[in-house]
């Protein structure tokens, strides 16, 4: 248990920002299916009750990296307003990755919470 937590922490610490952004993006795509970059930003903001704001410029490098890693796939399509946009979709590898990221996050939260509660 200790080692697992430690591993989780280390992973989160190392890729803290990137890791949580990945988690948010992957989860968003799981919940919403196909979505373009702007849609992801808006979704994260709304779903977190305006608590989380994704830095918009950082989103695209992350999307590109995840696409290259095979976690998500992308295709150009029309938006409702008739604009062309690049839509992202979760792949099966992405689903696995999401599970892993969620697990790591749970460990982190549990661990941090345990420390906060320690009397």
């Amino acid at each position: 248990m200790y080692t697992k937590l430690y591993r989780g922490l280390r992973k989160m610490a190392k890729n803290d920002l990137q890791g949580s952004l990945d988690l948010l993006v992957l989860k968003t795509l799981l919940q919403r299916g196909e979505l373009h970059g702007y849609g992801i930003v808006v979704h994260i903001q709304r779903a977190s009750d305006e608590l989380l704001r994704v830095e918009e410029g950082s989103l695209y490098p992350a999307l590109h990296r995840m696409e290259q890693s095979g976690w998500i796939s992308a295709a150009w399509a029309q938006t409702e307003t008739g604009r062309k946009a690049k839509y992202y979709k979760l792949t099966s590898a992405g689903r696995k990755q999401l599970q892993e990221a969620e697990r790591n996050f749970e460990h982190l939260v549990k661990g941090v919470r345990a420390i906060l509660r320690y009397a």
């Binding site: 970059g37 490098p61 590109h64 290259q68 890693s69 095979g70 604009r83 062309k84 946009a85």
Partner: protein
Amino acid sequence: MSLLRRIGNVLSRSKMDREIDAEVQAHIEMRIEDNLAEGMPLEQARRDALIRFGSPTSTKERVTGMDAALTLESVWADIRFACRQLMRNPGFAVTAIVVLALGMGACVTIFAFVDAALIKPLPYSDPSRLVSVFESNTLGPQFHLSYLDYLDFKRLNHVFSSLDVYEGSNLFLTTPAATEHVLGARVSDGLLRTLGVKPVLGRDFYAGEDLPKAPQTVLLSYETWQSRYGGRKDVLGQTVILNSTAYTVVGVLPAEFHFAPVSAAEFWFTLHSPMSEDRGGHGLVGVARLKDGVAAKTASAEIANIMAQLASQYPDADQGRGSTVLPLPEVIVGNLRPILLVLLCGAALLLLIACVNVASLLVLRSESRRREIAVRGALGASHARLLRQFMTEGLLLVAGSTALGIGGATVAMRLMLRLVPAGMLAGMPFLHGMGMNERVSAFATVVALMACAACTLAPALRLYRAGRGLGMQADLSEGSRGSAGTLWRRLGSNLVLVELTAAVVLLSCAGLLGKSFYRLLHTDLGFAPDHLAVLRVAPSKLKYTTDPSIVVLAQRLVERARSLPGVESAGICSEPPLSDGDGSSNFTVAGRPQVGPPPEVTVRQMDPAFSPTVGTRLLRGRLFRDSDDATHPPVMMINKALARRYFAGEDAIGKHIVFVGSKTQKEIVGVLDDIKEGPLDVATKPVLYEPFQQDPWNWFYLVVRTSNAEQSVLPTLKTAVHDVDPTISTFGEETMSERLHNSQAAYLHRASAWLVGGFAAVALLLGVVGLYGVIAYSVSQRTREIGVRMALGAQRGSVYALVMKEAAWITALGIVAGIVCSIGTAMLMRKLLFGTQPWDAPTLAAVAALLGAFALLASFIPARRAASVNPVDALRSD
């Protein structure tokens, strides 16, 4: 494959840039739309969208940067993984790297020589338009021009834009300290312009500077300028004393300039002297530049026409002479081409064997890792990913061996250059500055890429087969046995067959070359070359002006040399044996009607003591006597070749010889067995011998036979000459065995025999190791089968037979294929063989026996292991 796509992304930046731009643009516009929907004014909506997004340029850069980072990361991961895999089995890694490095190093080294001699253009402008012009005579196609013939060629031809002449020259440089023997070149005034070479300092000879009335001027080679004058600019106008004549330095030749026909000439001066201005005196070689659009063949035909015209005009001097026009590069490097090409082919074969060996090692290794591959495949590693990992391993091996091979090649080049005798290296100035230049590097790159292909393709093929569905499951369930085993055995034995065939070819070539070399050194020289030392003696022309004075001096030198400790006998000759065969005259036989032009033969002078000293064999008549001097009737000896050619079926003794242009009849008193003249690998031409006392030469050789080591007598010999007269210049001291072993023919034969021999030894080793690998693998695959056979009563002998039969088949096939190929190869390199036929049976039989013996050994070890299998264990395994 994502790696390829990413590399593609990095390469096709512009397409990707446009896509990112479009995406970012869409994002910003969607934000503006939403802002407008919330009721913002247009301007504010736009500004808010831009501020929220941040810099689109930086975003774009970060997106594209991601590709490079990801690529590096995954390549790095592959490299680390491959390193770990290789480190786990260092024996394999080291073997593979060393084997490949050997092949690559050999190829690159030989190629550097090929490049320096055959590819790198000669340092003249447009060297392919330059030709050499020779006269031909009954002795051969490449003989000298006379000065007057040169002038006529120059005047009458329409095919050359310019024609000039040169000759190599021995000079004596007088410095305040001493008089020193140096090499020079005597040239017509336009030679450098014909070659297209401009001095780096000072001026070229001007037109007319080669006439007798022009002042005596000299150009220095760059090395001479540097070593004798410290590269000082004020060298221009200085005076140099050469052969007791004062010359003014007018220029310095460029550093990269060389002209092999005059060896390492230090001083370049013009013709001047009227000595050679006689149509019968031949001493010059022509160099010409072809006019635009004129082919060498056309030029050759035109010069032949002019020569025929001259021959009818001046029958005394030119009758029977023809002409030869050859491309200049051919004349300079032509004799090296066959040997270098053979060596390059040998090195290429070695590389082939090395690649095959390493490829089969890699396949064998991937066989033993089948379970690992299957497991990783089952865990989701994609096919491409696995392939990439194997290829990375191959690439790492090749990278390692490339580094080692190129490093080795650089060292080998220097070593081999150092092994070339200095005198010979001076005759091959194009080898200077040989090294890893851009052409050699490009070649090394191609070799490395080919090695990469071999080392990555083999495991890739293996994986491809495994990928066809059945493979992986089978591998998982059965571990290391099954259909793949048979496949590898078949593929493996084919690869080994290639190796063995190549090894046989290399071994046969090495054998044939070695035998040629042996034959060459043991060719009948017509004298005993051991315990002989020679020294060239050049008395000053100013001091010894008359023939009798030279005869007296020669006599005194011989007597002085004879009195030296350890010297058994001493003699005089104009040219010692194993010379280039130059120095010829035309003759007729008195009382015999001359049909056609009078033949031209080599003429040599010797004193009566020369024959006993070197140990010539008298076939008929008598040797020269002390009484054969100026006061007695002129006599001659001839060699066997001359007797056979010009006195066929009659007795030459008592016949009289008359030189063209002279009235004196000289009686033939003896016939000598042929004393080797000219290159060792060319039959001796007809030679006439005159007594030194009747026709003395200003420069001559002192030859001594010693009772102890001949090397030790050289310094005392030199001192002895200076004891007689300190003004005499001496040079060219060497022992006869040095002359023999350092002759170009001997050197080239020796070098090729040793190098190909070395290649062959490595090839044999690799081939046999390859065979061992295949047989050992086959045995390990058949352990259970062998166990069953033994359990059913098979004897150990039959197990031996079972295993060794497999090896014998491959070996026999390899030997047969190899012998057939080697006869073909040897036919192609026939030029390099001396006294040995390409199908020389003893050599081929020895090669077959050698390979057979090694193959037997290689298969005996696994066979013994197979025979000692315990049937119970074998059946229980798994």
